[in-house]
């Protein structure tokens, strides 16, 4: 079923830059290493290393806390940014995400248009094409288990996986613990990986990785120690 393009979400670390953007894409390149030898009529290849990038572009805004200041701050930060692009805002919708090791950021303009901005992230250790486990940026305030996502026909291999977390807005007065769980039947759940505990009133982002097999169903479990709301986006992928 087609997914309208207009409901994308794009977050870079704890910053939601969605409303500045009007174009986004994610690309995974896989090397094909040639293995041709004598005695064949056609070239042969072996699958090689994967590489990924995530790009977005839209309208420049130079005011405080807007996209230009956000991207300049991310570029100058000492740690790699966590980037997630969700195709829509429904739980289970597709998403592309990862940890970026470097980025390029451009501002451009002509006399007859608006000032535009674009950014490209080079991902470290690959790009995930997975699903979001939250209903877009989901507003939460209490402990609970979110609804599960059925990865149905996606490979449930033994090569682990990874997940990203973004909390751009946090008015919660206590700590927040977010855990990714899996299940073979959406009834019996086990922890796959846990994000670092989030302090009260703290906006944050993180990428976590796990090894081993991942079951068909995944969900987010939240432990919220205080009161007040926070917005949460989690995306996850399991590798074959």
């Amino acid at each position: 079923m087609p997914t309208p393009g207009r409901n994308a979400l794009v977050l870079v670390n704890e910053f939601d830059i969605t409303t500045y953007l009007n174009d986004s894409s994610a690309t995974e390149d896989l090397e094909a290493d040639e293995s041709t030898t004598y005695g064949t009529d056609a070239k042969t290849y072996e699958a090689g290393l994967a590489d990924g990038s995530l790009s977005a572009s839209g309208l420049y805004d130079g005011t405080a806390d807007a996209i230009d200041e956000v991207l300049r701050g991310v570029a100058q930060a000492a740690t790699n940014p966590v980037v997630t692009r969700s195709y829509a805002r429904t739980r289970g919708t597709g998403a592309s995400f990862g940890e970026a090791v470097r980025m390029s950021h451009e501002v451009s303009q002509t006399p007859d248009g608006l000032v535009e901005t674009s950014v490209e992230f080079q991902m470290d250790e690959g790009l995930g094409f997975g699903r979001i486990l939250t209903a877009g940026l989901e507003s939460l305030s209490a402990t609970g288990d979110l609804a599960s996502v059925d990865f149905v026909n996606d490979p449930q291999g033994a090569s682990g996986g990874f997940a990203t977390l973004h909390i751009p807005t946090n008015a919660h007065t206590g700590t927040v613990d977010v855990v990714v769980e899996d299940s073979p039947d959406a009834a019996a759940w086990a922890t796959v990986a846990a994000f670092t505990q989030v302090p009260a009133s703290t906006a944050t982002a993180e990428l976590i990785r796990w090894t081993g097999a991942t079951d068909r169903y995944m969900r987010v479990s939240v432990t919220a120690a205080g009161t007040g709301s926070f917005d949460l986006l989690v995306a996850a992928v399991a590798r074959a």
């Binding site: 087609p2 009529d41 994967a50 597709g94």
Partner: protein
Amino acid sequence: MPTAGRNAFLSVGGTDISTHCNDISVPEEIEADETTTFGTDAKTYIAGLADGSVSLSGVWDPAVDTVWAAVRQQNDQAFQYGPQGNTVSNPRRTGVMVGTNYETSQTPDGVVEFSMELQIDGGITFDTF
């Protein structure tokens, strides 16, 4: 006789992906190894190695992610392409491949789209369904 483009069949890694695609191309290239020597007025060649690829694009669906997840970083993944569909006796291009590129993209005024590139491993077989 012209062939309508709407009936294409494409299977990647054993999964029929036709209904998600709106553009498919399967180029085959044969190297021409130059053999020109002195005493000729024109370059001469002999046929060399064959090489091929599959390019497809269309409307993204989670099922397309599933297809990519199954073939990425895997060798000898099967593909079948039928320009006229997969009815028995229709022409077929088939072989095995490795996935080399997958992209999803979107703008506010359209739908989420995808494109995929596959490197054919060991040449294309031309036969029928």
